[in-house]
Symmetry: none
Amino acid sequence: MPSVELIAIGTELLLGQLVDTNTPYVAGKLAEAGVDVFATHTVGDNRERIAAAIRASLERADGVITTGGLGPTIDDITKEAVCDALGLECELHEPSLRAIEGVFAKSGRPMRENNRKQALLPRGAIALANSQGTAPGFVVEKDGRFVACMPGVPREMKPMLAGGLLPWLHKRFELSQHIRTRTLHTIGLAESEIDHRIADLFASLENPKIAVLAHQYRCDVKIMAKAASEEEAIALIAPVEHELLRRLDGHVYGVDDQTLPGAIHVLLRQTRNTIAVAESCTGGAVSAALTSVPGSSKSFVGGIVAYDNAVKTQLLGVTEALLASAGAVSEETATEMAIGVRRRLEATIGLAVTGIAGPEGGTPEKPIGLVWLALAESGGARAVRLNLAGDRHAIQDRATIAALGLLWRTLAAGNRLRVEPRNG
Amino acid sequence: MPSVELIAIGTELLLGQLVDTNTPYVAGKLAEAGVDVFATHTVGDNRERIAAAIRASLERADGVITTGGLGPTIDDITKEAVCDALGLECELHEPSLRAIEGVFAKSGRPMRENNRKQALLPRGAIALANSQGTAPGFVVEKDGRFVACMPGVPREMKPMLAGGLLPWLHKRFELSQHIRTRTLHTIGLAESEIDHRIADLFASLENPKIAVLAHQYRCDVKIMAKAASEEEAIALIAPVEHELLRRLDGHVYGVDDQTLPGAIHVLLRQTRNTIAVAESCTGGAVSAALTSVPGSSKSFVGGIVAYDNAVKTQLLGVTEALLASAGAVSEETATEMAIGVRRRLEATIGLAVTGIAGPEGGTPEKPIGLVWLALAESGGARAVRLNLAGDRHAIQDRATIAALGLLWRTLAAGNRLRVEPRNG
């Protein structure tokens, strides 16, 4: 398995003015192709520093792939730095010059001397055609190592990677490896709890590897297999996925591209349920998440954002007496909100959220972060109490995901859901 | 001017599974503080490679700042690698342990041994408090160089940088270069229109510089000044800001940290108005945006997500006859929704959105992207037609911002709003 390091070139990247999306894109494509990305770097438009970075990377890896610094302006000095690093000269590459002349002839713009500079390549380099712009890329070998350079404009870089560099890498390193990944999305388990349940697998497995990625109130568990064929990679994943599903039973709501709202809508349709939402502290975010899914109108009836207590009373049927005795943030009010929105909007399920998102409104008995969720069905209602950490935004986010999680668990339990290991 | 290198830690970053937004964020803040970012790197969850990267960076720069790898799981080994690189031991940091115990006590979740591990810090390190999670960051000095480590979760990293690491850097390096930025947030002008209005300033100004950043349906105009003192930088910005406000009059809703919902709430309170929202295609996102603001309960009464037509009829008073004749996505229905939600929720202003977000439901007469907004006040109601481009998600986003923009413009016009140049 060949190893490479990636170097993104551009002072604007070091100033934080631009987010480098090229590096993760190239890294992802290389991982799929079975190339090991050892490390990545960003350096400014400085000839000495670029050359030093290339030399350092070539001491650790079989090759270096750079993006950026191939343009016509004076601060584009990637090629000069590559020549410095490898002890090569640049020379005019006639086919590239003709390609650049063709681009200008077609556009009608005048070609300038600095565009001619773009046709200079390190001696012995193989040009990588640029179908979207003037600057050719190239790959050059020296002493068994290689340096490949591509433009920094993503629109130009991506087709060059797919049509030029990846085919070169496949041929040069006889790449035959296939990488398959499978991501299990979980809800309701903390990262440390997942770690506790799967630490032995994490420590013992080499292929496939597993990794845990924590998000707000959810975690992903990723399985990555490498094999000589796609079938073999899939076969490696299957038993690990099966074991993970067993250990995380009742918490895996989907795989790969599936989202939590998407999984909920699948279950709503399967179980012929419809949903109505009453929200206070989440302010419409639960409804917005549920309606983010295409086709959600089949199951989502509507929502009521009951911020003012008068709305809870008039539209949801929560009595003023209950609001006075138990309070707006209470098990009783959450339950009445869920029952009320279910009845009022004529849905089979009512989901309610009420809580204190802060930064004001907390008391010793009911601190900021206290959230009550409730879910009402034909058979009755139940409520869940949460104590959420973070600022207003974090509490709103976490309460939203927790409400979606409660809905998903209820539907999944009723449907005896099993996520089946994939066969292909 | 001190120099640093940044190291982002995480195998998932090298696999291209996650875009590293921390590095550009930290780089930008360091640039503003007058710290030179020499280079940035990404390495996987590998103790030897992290240690080697830290050592290599310390040969080139005064310090290293890492993000990631401070979590409780077995692949979080940043601290061990820092100790290896610097020849230090890790030891239990009692205040951090108590802070972690406090987080778990508050949440009611059980604390595990691997969370206790998060309180281990290199000997002599200064802890950087984590206000949003369990893992403390730290900064440790050795032989005149420093290593600072922060968590990889952006929500945890950002306040730690602002409240812990940047103040430490200011003190340690007596940073005296002052970069001040002022960002004017506009709505209702395309990027090309802004460019047209300010092109001469853009070309002629060196210090402060100005830059235009386009977002969904809004644009920011950023003014950046460098000076030897904060006062001097502010004085450089003031006349440029004044000129920009003149040229963009009626479109600047806020500056710097001010958000569109935040600006709306200021105006709602100033004008003693209250707001109720009826939404269809935005599914709760307008209400969610308005309730994202602390203290929004003073002016936001509530919202109705009227997805099903029955909800429009029963809760908003839109007649079935109107829905049959004009349709759910029409000027008439939008207007009735705004009037209905205003009356029903007893607010002084009613705001309504109805549209076709797709991917299904479009017709030649009413294509995907057709959105009607309406706003009802005591004096009457008016509607605005939009034709939005993009997929479902983009249409929902743009419709949400356009609805907020309509509300802001109405309030600002009534209030004769002027954003005053800042004095300090």
